[in-house]
């Protein structure tokens, strides 16, 4: 039986450069997985390929999500199927407030599902509860998306969007980078609050302390040269902590 999310021998390139080189990985519903690996190993490319970023070209392999061929769907269809990416460096959108942005995103999902649009009261309720839980002020919601926010605030807003859209599969691309201790806790909290038997996480991070204390993953994978070179549990964290990625990278080359 295929897993909930099954990535099989995935190959992708950006321009002429091959980045994913036969990557296989499967995640079951409710699981939290962590991906580690040296810079350039393909971590961010994997998250973007799963979301359908047109900048990358898939040259082989398959991805099945909830029984559907994910690679056949366009970016927005994947999002509506439940794929969510918390970006490492979210883009700024001048002139569009976070509140407006979320209204569009929620209504796009409802429209695609044949439901009617959220009314103003329903929308405000949904936004208020989540903003409070994640320490997002009214002022942050009124300001244009990601414009003029600190790195930590942007990550907090990514977590907030994840809470608003309630995706089934959340990819967090280096959520903990560029954040202070408190902000890292907020990000970790977002994952804790949202963890459920129907929702899976793929967390990309270098921060072993963050992974251990905030994420508490079910499985850990090490990526090198565009492939998964080691699968395991939290014990893999100890190995990376002690010896770094050198041993894994050698394996990938050999």
């Amino acid at each position: 039986m295929t897993a909930w999310l099954e990535i099989n021998d995935l190959r992708a390139k950006a321009g002429d450069k091959t980045i994913l080189n036969g990557l296989s990985l499967s995640i079951d519903a409710g699981e939290v997985h962590v991906i580690m690996g040296p810079n350039g190993s393909g971590k961010s490319t994997l998250s973007n390929v799963l979301c359908g970023n047109p900048h990358y070209e898939v040259t082989g392999g398959s991805v099945t999500f909830k029984g559907e061929d994910l690679l056949k769907l366009n970016v927005e269809e994947r999002a509506r199927l439940g794929v969510f990416l918390a970006f490492q460096s979210p883009v700024e959108i001048p002139g569009v407030s976070m509140a407006t942005f979320m209204k569009y995103a929620l209504n796009a999902r409802r429209k695609a599902a044949g439901e009617k649009e959220l009314d103003a009261v329903g929308f405000m309720k949904r936004i208020k509860v989540r903003a409070q839980a994640l320490n997002v002020s009214d002022e942050m919601l009124k300001r244009p998306v990601n414009v003029g926010f600190s790195g930590g605030e942007k990550k907090r807003l990514e977590t907030f969007q994840m809470a608003m859209l309630e995706p089934d599969f959340c990819i967090l691309d280096e959520m903990d980078s560029g954040m202070d201790v408190d902000a890292v806790k907020v990000a970790g909290n977002g994952v804790k609050i949202m963890r459920s038997p129907e929702r899976s996480f793929l967390v990309i991070s270098h921060n072993i302390k963050f992974i251990r204390e905030q994420i508490m993953p079910d499985k850990v994978h090490v990526l090198a040269n565009g492939r998964v070179v080691a699968d395991g549990g939290v014990e893999l964290l100890d190995e990376v902590d002690k010896n770094g990625f050198a041993g894994f990278v050698k394996e990938a080359v050999a």
């Binding site: 970016v75 927005e76 994947r78 999002a79 990416l85 970006f87 959108i93 569009v96 796009a108």
Partner: protein, 239 residues
């Protein structure tokens, strides 16, 4: 507040405040803003050619927002005639299909301590073609002049074209003058980000385009006029 229909000449008396909303334009309109007067002027333009001439007197302030939709050439001329005169003349233009338009503006700083600012933003789709000709003249003997002109255009299709011809004639030294023009397409990273949240590409494009144009339209103080212009701009984009 007054609604103008096909009137040709207008004078705003000294120290008077006036708001003009033009929905149907005369072929030619001349406005004389006398000393100390304050004028806000909102125009809907499109379909036919139109020429506007404004003279701005001492310490008077004239503020214009034009929404141009479709065919028709628009010519605007601003004479900052009195010391301390202030002119703001913003434009939003939206073209689609085979529509063509030339938008020409001339700002003449004919007195000391005059200030002008102009923000022109356009969105052109289909096989539309827009030309923006933006002139600023500052004669050699004028002092403490501040002139700013920015033009930004979005090409919404591969066949759309926009050309910008700035004409800056600055003969004086005591001048602050900033100008720039940029013509480009929608930002791919922004589109991708919006789509990862489930927003259709078409809707994401429309939302980004509207946000781009609203930088001008948000400057309309009168709430009902702003709502009307934003609605018409949205309709113009959906054509």
């Amino acid at each position: 507040m007054e609604t103008l229909v096909k009137r040709e000449r207008l004078t705003v008396a000294e120290n008077e405040n006036a708001v003009f909303i033009e929905r149907e334009l005369a072929d030619r309109l001349e406005i004389d803003v006398k000393a100390g007067a304050r004028v806000k002027h909102y125009r809907l333009h499109g379909g036919a050619d139109n020429a506007l001439t404004v003279r701005i007197g001492e310490n008077a302030a004239y503020e214009l927002v034009t929404l141009h939709l479709g065919n028709g050439d628009l010519s605007m001329s601003f004479d900052l005639a009195g010391e301390g005169a202030n002119c703001r003349s913003d434009v939003v233009y939206i073209l689609s299909g085979d529509e063509k338009s030339v938008i020409a503006s001339d700002v003449r700083h004919n007195a000391d301590k005059t200030v002008s600012a102009q923000l022109v933003k356009g969105a052109v789709g289909g096989r539309g073609h827009a030309a923006f000709q933006g002139g600023i003249l500052i004669p050699y003997d004028k002092k403490e002049i501040d002139g700013a002109q920015q033009h930004r255009a979005l090409l919404l299709s591969r066949d759309a074209t926009v050309e910008a011809v700035p004409r800056l004639e600055i003969y004086a030294d005591d001048v602050k003058c900033a100008h720039g023009s940029a013509i480009g397409t929608l930002n791919q990273d922004q589109l991708y980000y919006m789509r990862t949240r489930g927003i259709d590409e078409t809707d994401a494009r429309a939302l980004l385009t509207t946000a781009f144009l609203n930088e001008v339209l948000d400057g309309i103080e009168d709430e009902s006029v702003r709502a009307e212009f934003e609605r018409l701009a949205d309709e113009g984009l959906k054509k």
